[in-house]
Amino acid sequence: MTWLLWRQHRLQAAIAAAAYAAFLVAVLLTGWHMADIYHSALVTCRANGTCDELNLFQGYGAIVDVVNLTAAVPLLIGLFWGVTSVGREMDTGTHVLAWTQSVTRRRWLAGKIGLLMAAAAVWGAAVTVAVTWWSKTPNSYYADRFDPGKFMIQGIVPVGYALFAAALGLAAGAVIRRTLPALAVTVVGYVAAQVTVSNWIRPHLAAPLVSDVPFDQQNAVPSGSWLLRQDIVLHGKAITSALSLPAQCAPDRGGNVRQCLADLGYRYVVHYQPASRYWPFQWVEFTGFVALAAVLVTVAWFSVLRRDA
């Protein structure tokens, strides 16, 4: 069985290894360089007091894009490894060949699932380790690691996503048993899960904190927090249309515009998740996706073993 798994998947393994090697080289080189630039810039700006006006990393668009694109890695794992693992074999009928060669269905399926999950975890972890290391510098500079686009490619959640996507592809293939529909279901399912979690679940994993201050003050939101909403509020109601400046606060009247609006009752209200919650949120989301993966693996297991071949 080990031989069979290796022989069937050795090409995939080689391609993945080659792609990762190239990716790792790019990440290492740019990461070191960016850290260097940032460090020297900090030394200079602290001496000059110009740290608020730093404008770094202008030419690094390409690597930034590549790193952002690693958000697609779990989905690719689900499509290229998850669906082909069982679904494509059942589509082409070669599972019957293995099953009539003295290998029980159970052993065959356990081997396939084991390899798939291990590969998804390893590959997901390898990519996220590289991305998280590389992101140390941008995280310090932009303080945006809690933002959805960055949250999903760093830390521990990408490993959870990889396991989930692999299990989703596996289950889709095991239930549908046709490659193309299974691929479609995996794409739709994965994107739907990500969108749902990002927009409706993660923001409410813990009750967001609120910072409610008069218009002329700064909200006390710690650096690196995730801003969920920012509203201008007047008498308890948020202003949704364009703010028209009341006549008495016009700049040509002299005096501080902000102070004037504050006196009229305008306030800034910010809903946010504080930066301190970053790791707890990572772990909760990771656990949730791993649990989903376990459910999907069970579905695949029973679909293959209990139904007619």
């Binding site: 009928g93 070669t94 019957v96 060949l97 009539t100 060669q101 003295s102 029980t104």
Partner: protein, 295 residues
Amino acid sequence: MNEHAVETSGLGKRFGSRWALRDCSLNVPEGRICGLIGANGAGKTTLLRMLVGLSRPSAGEVKIFGQPPSDTEPFVRDVGYLAQEIPLYRRWTVADHLTFGARLNPDWDDDATRERLYRLRIPFEQRVGTLSGGQRTQVALALALGKKPRLLLLDEPVAALDPLARREFLATLTAAVADGNLTVILSSHLVTDLERVCDHVVVLNAAQLVIGGGLDQMLASHYLLTGPSRDLGALERDHTLLRAERTPRQVKAWVRLDGPLHDPTWEVTELDLEEIVLAYMGQSSPAPAVAEVVS
């Protein structure tokens, strides 16, 4: 050898409201080559898949060497199967498939398998997807035989082969049976091949078993009776009438004799297997099925 290789009783399979096979009871003794005959859609593939355990019965039972099919090592070792589509890994070479067989089967006979393919002049280093239909079938058969099963089930293995490839396939198969310890069930809608190779026959028609039993006994009990036109009541009472054809002067009756024929005015002609099968299939309603012609 007390147990039959295959024993089914009341076996049936339903897909939704449609029965693909119904009330099938048959016995195939060990060591036989059994031909499973029927038109497309008669239920042959449905029956074979239930025997292998790929499909679960909706009714009735199946026993293979005394045990129902199960997802266990002993069963999957004992039973080999060749599906109609001949599933092979298209991008693998023939040699890859042989390694596959050796690694997955504890009882793999590597020398015999290599020799078999070598004698058929099948190139080992060629990708299976580029082989001809006949060569692919031989590779699949070699894989199925190499693991030394006790029962081998073949679903229309020669349907897409030219006559030479068919001959080579059947020769390989019968030689393997000659080695001993192998029972074969092969399905086909071409009866002539089966007659020379099989010693046991099962005929399916419209999802039902029509007749099953030893070939010799079947040939010895089915005849074409020709004679002057007359009433067939007596014939129908004493024997089983399968089909009758009348002309103004003459009547022809295809019968299964369930006892000695007393009427000497009949001219008796022997029937070959194809004619017997056609007589059964041509009936508008099936005669009561005979699960075992005395063997």
